[in-house]
Symmetry: C2
Subunit: 459 residues, 2 copies
């Protein structure tokens, strides 16, 4: 295997291309998988990209094209002659053509559509009509369909005849003349069956399918849950209109996971990989949340300011503010992240709310008690006895430890309620519960702190 990480391979390709040793460049590139060739081409100077791309054998070229980022695809298309463009488009699967069209500017899209054959154009338009997050938008219309009365040998003949244009032949679908989905049969079943067996008798009839308007994330999750290689997609009338293959499902899962991470960290998701996102684009994806959270943190400031005089009177309390706020924030985060992840894996649903809250309450009380106990011991032994800090009376320690218990309790309850409720309301739990948990818990912890301080220290 060739190691691309260290850049030696890329240097060799560049060197050979400067010396115009094109056959050698081609031989080197064809050793790689399409995804790796695309990565190598992306590193080359823009003006040399079309030149080197043209060296690739036709079929491989199309596979590499699919793996490229939009920028390079556009650059290539602009350099293509009409014949070249038609050749690449012919090799693409329908779902890849759709992806391409979605990324390109209008003028390029027009040119692409002009050079697509009418049947593909119809499929492309159909898929483009489905909403962005739907199963319909990521499906491909190129699947193997069989009839119930075919024999296994008929079916294998049909696969041999049409299979080369299909995205997968591993799972074949059985439809009636009205294109309604009747069942499925895997290529393994076909191969292991007798030549004379009739499809109807060997097909699996109890088929799980997705609807065109289903959320693509749910479809991807189901593919993973059931270990499917492809999921059939049916329209409202139960007609089979396409399939979602496992590789596209994995892309959806990775995309959604990245979005969850970004939401949690207060980043507006962009589709591009980190190094491909420009500085200004990155700023635009980060600044709204920073501003919003900065604004909401002023509420925390208001709480502190309104207790300014008490704090000035008992300055020892100030030093514990960050610890209490952070511990609250961390406790809340633990619960909200655990639930956001469980919700997105489908392990937990809204009907589990009572058991979730009951569990979090017990966890909160236990964690709160342990933290308070450890803190009390530390305050009494380290701060008071060892460091001789006489400001830390037993009453101050009590205020701090009671605040810990109540803060952890509130944080964990808020941390599990917010994701569950936002999911129920059809909002993305990661957006709602992620960055705001800290701010909410900050305010709560300070209010609890000052309440106990007034109560026990009489400030």
């Amino acid at each position: 295997m060739i190691d691309l990480e260290n850049g030696v391979f890329l240097e060799q390709v560049e060197d050979l291309s400067v010396r115009k040793r094109w056959p050698d460049v081609r031989d080197m590139l064809t050793l790689l998988e399409p995804a790796d060739i695309a990565a190598v081409l992306a590193e080359l100077p823009e003006d040399r990209l079309p030149l080197i791309y043209r060296l690739l054998p036709k079929e491989l070229a199309a596979e590499v094209f699919v793996e490229m980022e939009a920028e390079e695809q556009e650059l290539l298309i602009r350099s293509f002659s009409d014949t070249e463009l038609r050749e690449v488009l012919e090799e693409l699967y329908v779902d890849d053509t759709v992806d391409l069209i979605e990324e390109m500017p209008a003028t390029v899209v027009k040119r692409i559509l002009r050079h697509t054959d009418p049947e593909t154009r119809r499929s492309v338009n159909e898929i483009l009509n489905y909403p962005e997050d739907s199963a319909g938008s990521i499906m491909t219309t190129e699947f193997v369909d069989l009839k119930r009365d075919m024999t296994v040998s008929d079916a294998l003949k049909r696969i041999r005849r049409t299979g080369s244009d299909k995205e997968t032949i591993n799972i074949c679908y059985v439809t009636d003349p009205g294109r309604h989905l009747l069942g499925l049969v895997s290529i393994r079943t076909l191969l292991l069956a007798d030549e004379d067996d009739v499809i109807e008798d060997i097909m699996e009839t109890n088929v799980i399918s997705a609807a065109t308007m289903d959320d693509k994330e749910d479809v991807a999750q189901d593919l993973s849950r059931y270990d499917f290689l492809a999921m059939p997609v049916v329209d409202k009338e139960g007609r089979l209109v396409g399939i979602v293959t496992i590789d596209d499902a994995i892309d959806v899962m990775e995309e959604e996971t990245t979005e969850d991470f970004e939401h949690l960290a207060g980043i507006t998701p962009t589709d591009k990989p980190y190094l491909r996102t420009g500085v200004w684009e990155t700023v635009k994806s980060r600044i709204p949340w920073l501003l919003l959270l900065m604004l909401s943190a002023t509420f925390t400031g208001v709480v502190i300011s309104s207790f300014e005089d008490s704090l000035a009177a008992c300055t020892v309390l100030m030093g514990f503010i960050p610890m209490l706020m952070d511990t609250g924030g961390n406790s809340g985060n633990q619960s909200s992240v655990a639930l956001i992840r469980s919700l997105s894996l489908g392990e937990v649903s809204f009907s589990d709310l009572p058991s979730v809250i009951w569990k979090e309450i017990r966890v909160a009380v236990t964690c709160g008690a342990i933290l308070a106990f450890c803190n009390f011991v530390k305050l009494m032994l380290v701060d008071r006895l060892l460091l001789q800090n006489t400001d830390i009376t037993i009453w101050v320690a009590a205020v701090i430890c009671l605040t810990l218990i109540f803060t952890v309790f509130c944080a964990k309850v808020v941390g599990c309620l917010m994701p569950m409720i936002s999911d129920k309301l059809g909002l993305d739990p990661a957006v709602v519960a992620g960055p705001f948990i800290t701010t909410i818990v900050d305010v709560l912890s300070l209010l609890i702190y000052f309440q106990f301080a007034m109560l026990l220290l009489g400030l």
Copy 2:
């Protein structure tokens, strides 16, 4: 399709089983996919589980068994007769048997191994010897191997003869007599080729493979990157010893993603789903980080305490501490999460460090300037003019805004350095960079704040 979410299905199954209408129970269950049957069985009372499990047809029963959680598997095995156990074990693929053995207590393991046939036992032991995170530990040894001099028709015959015991027949591997991997051929290529074609001429020889000791996460990532359905695993001598199939790779990816989420939120990962984890287990996975972070937050407290007198003299500064700390934490989080995700997707590697830092610096300066500007306007217009807060002089505003700029700068640099460096050192970026970023940035932001306060306000 049957909706399991609302519980109606489960009620019907329970009702039928109470009335001992076993054939009806079986008919209802066999409508479902194995993963769903396992979910339904998990909801049933423990004493009825073995009874209902026995209703399932043999092959389906084994598929359901694989989908169950360890607790139910153990319960079933303890209720099995030796014959029943042997029947289930015979239907399992080697990698599923390994998973089972890893979860069961020693006495159960002994019984399982006693009833496994010698060949499987050898494979199981071999796989068990690989380290937990290696490709070897998740591979299966049941793949289709072909010889280079076979014709397509020979190959198809071989697949028909042995295919039913293989985890997948979609990709077949070509080996020499010494079991070295020579190439691969997909079932599609076989079906579309002429019957007389020789495997050698149609196989793909430029095969990407994994080594037994490779990190399983990298192997899963490669399967996704190259859109493979299976990845061959070779030992040090280049001999093909197993394959990792896409469904197992997806499980690895989901598991690793969940771990990343948990690490970021300061949770020690457990393998169990949220609702399956007991209260005490959850506490154990959360309390260490809470304690550690509580302790580290006392440093922040020490910084505040050492400026206690200055703060008491200029109390207006106190109210802005949470805002500065939070904004710093959020800025740092954005960078670290973006990089942790990019590292785990393989989009960024250590060699990109200079361009990553250069990008983050420019983003930090832009974000810092925008935040400072907005804050300055807000302080001057809202706090000073509108709310007539005379404590907020232009110098106080300058201290706050300069702190913002420098804090965001430090936060973003630390936020990108920590994940990159820990990844380089072979540590998990999510563990190192996740929860600690906040604490580090807290301390930094306070030090910067008080430095500017002393400089500009002469405290």
